[in-house]
């Protein structure tokens, strides 16, 4: 009898022990997934780096059928399109964040925020389709270039895809500027714009640079849109006129070629090798931006 009494609470606690153990495992699972992803990229990708000589890997020609695996045009293609996209998105993103946080009346904000959320929700393949069928012909006709599938077209679409992230991070950066700063500036007789321009924006600078990082991470990893609107020609983007010529990115190369490659061939390993480059690049970009996200989480939410 005595035994029975003391075993009742004990059975509850062993049940809870099991539950808490499961929760603990699930909590740590995310670390496991990141490691697993990296491990499998390495497993399939590393053979590329020792089966191909370095001169070939860092060459300027990507012609897998002739065993030419020069990744330089692909890396530069990704970099070019990301840089142009961020240059376009940065002023728009910061301006929109300032508009929403500092200027817009409540009802305008209530319309803008859901629209930006909607933009974040549009699938990349739909934006790519739209870029292909609507924006590319417009670019071709207005600029009189041979094809509308160019770095420029890709960068425009990518800029819009990076904007929701950039705006919300920039908004939070503005949010962290203490109210005293504004009050002090206004009390000195500065106009609202002078306050924003000379006090709020400089104080939010580090947060805004995080917004740029995250926007870059978003743009460099985008696949479907760039594959559909940039023409997919693996050539070196040199000179300013390259802006209006086709290009090919690392992501699009993987997406376009993995379906047709024989498993275990050098080409197959090469595509995983590019995957490693992408993983490492985005890893460091996110590491740098992590501070912004941690600040954000304290106040809640990624959206």
């Amino acid at each position: 009898m005595l035994n029975n009494k003391s075993s009742a609470p004990k059975s509850i606690s062993s049940f809870e022990f099991a539950i808490e153990a499961i929760i603990r495992v699930l909590g740590f699972s995310t670390i496991g997934f990141v490691l697993l992803i990296f491990l499998f990229l390495l497993k399939e990708g590393v053979p590329f780096f020792y089966k191909t000589d370095l001169i070939n890997i860092f060459g300027t020609r990507w012609y897998p059928t002739f065993d030419l695996f020069g990744t330089l045009p692909l890396i530069l293609g990704s970099v070019a399109i990301t840089v142009v996209a961020v240059i376009m998105a940065l002023p728009m993103g910061v301006a929109t964040a300032v508009f929403i946080r500092e200027i817009a009346p409540g009802w305008v904000r209530e319309i803008l925020k859901p629209m930006i959320e909607t933009l974040a929700g549009i699938p990349s393949v739909v934006i790519g389709f739209f870029g292909m069928t609507v924006i590319a012909p417009m670019v071709r006709e207005t600029l009189g270039v041979a094809t509308g599938l160019t770095i420029f077209t890709g960068a425009v679409t990518l800029a819009y895809m990076a904007l929701p992230t950039m705006i919300s991070v920039a908004e939070d950066a503005l949010d962290t500027v203490p109210k005293n700063y504004r009050d002090a500036a206004l009390a000195m007789g500065a106009t609202k714009w002078q306050t924003i321009r000379h006090v709020v924006l400089p104080a939010a600078r580090s947060g805004i640079s995080m917004a740029v990082m995250l926007g870059m991470g978003r743009a460099i990893g985008e696949t479907m849109t760039v594959m559909m609107v940039t023409g997919n020609a693996a050539r070196m983007p040199l000179g300013l006129d390259a802006l209006f010529k086709p290009i090919r990115t690392m992501t699009a190369t993987i997406a376009a070629e993995m379906g047709e490659v024989a498993g275990g061939s050098i080409h197959y390993h090469a595509l995983f090798g590019i995957g490693i480059v992408l993983f490492v690049l985005t890893f460091f970009i996110n590491l740098a931006a992590a501070r912004a996200i941690f600040q954000k989480r304290r106040k809640g939410g990624l959206r």
Binding site: L26, I100, I220, L302
Partner: protein
């Protein structure tokens, strides 16, 4: 220059920039609705494609996307909610916890095509699932985790600490508090997070390219180990890989995909704002 005039000009420019961000969103939706709505019919939604996809419907793609999304939910919901409970209720601020957070940030930042490579390497080849709904759902499920966790954690943290204190003072254990008080209170927020994650999964193409997607497969999948067509991949295929594709079908497919994803988006924000207003604390 007059500083008040400068302010007028600056604000006008800022307003213009904000409009430049928002107006294209209307434009994209408007064009896809205008050109795609004529394709939408009962036949289009419920028939198999035929004549090399240039005629008939897109049923297998729609069904495939639903199955994939459901599979993603089965993977992402238990792992995501378990992970969230750990982070919000159990984890202390140690370097290990910081590692978990860093891992989540990184999962969120990994390019979708790299998830595709990972799914191919681990699920399709190493675990020998083949290109299948199973492999795709696992890949998409892991990809969805960071969205679910970050939104759900916010919901759990919003539940006041007093609720937990009261639970403890009444003799409730930590798990009883979570199970009976915290989770029910945070449920709307958790549901919002899950929907936001799933809508992202439903619209993704790159991760399913080599893990699930069939170019053209006019039969419905019968088991989790079958390939399937899916809406995003189908839209990619008919807009780039099939010559002479009627524009109407392309826009119609884009419209169906956009409709599914955006209605999930609206659903999520309705739940969020409804419960935020109803909430008593």
């Amino acid at each position: 220059m007059n500083r008040h005039l400068a302010q007028e000009i600056a604000f006008a420019v800022l307003t213009l920039m904000a409009m430049m961000v928002v107006i294209p969103v209307f434009w994209v939706i408007w064009i896809i609705v205008a050109k795609g709505s004529s394709a939408i019919s009962w036949t289009f939604l419920t028939q198999m494609p035929h004549d090399g996809m240039t005629a008939g419907g897109i049923l297998p793609a729609i069904l495939g996307t639903f199955l994939l999304t459901a599979g993603t939910a089965l993977v992402a919901i238990p792992i995501g909610i378990g992970g969230t409970i750990y982070l919000a209720e159990y984890a202390r601020d140690t370097w290990l916890t910081r590692c978990i957070r860093l891992a989540i940030v990184n999962l969120a930042g990994i390019p979708s095509i790299v998830y595709g490579l990972f799914g191919l390497g681990l699920f399709v080849l190493f675990m020998k699932m083949g290109t299948s709904i199973m492999a795709g759902a696992l890949t998409l499920g892991i990809m969805t985790l960071p969205v679910v966790i970050s939104t759900a954690e916010e919901a759990l943290r919003a539940v006041p600490t007093e609720f937990r204190t009261v639970n403890a003072s009444l003799g409730g254990t930590r798990w009883q508090g979570i199970r009976m008080i915290v989770l029910p209170q945070a449920l709307p927020g958790i549901i919002t997070g899950v929907i936001l994650g799933l809508l992202r999964a439903a619209g993704e193409t790159a991760p399913i390219l080599f893990t699930v997607a069939a170019f053209f497969l006019p039969v419905l999948p019968r088991s989790p180990f079958d390939q399937t067509m899916a809406l995003p991949y189908h839209l990619y295929v008919i807009s780039t890989q099939v010559p002479g594709m009627p524009e109407e079908i392309q826009y119609g497919t884009a419209l169906v995909l956009l409709g599914i994803v955006l209605s999930m988006n609206v659903f999520a924000s309705v739940i969020r704002s409804y419960y935020r207003r109803k909430r008593q604390w």
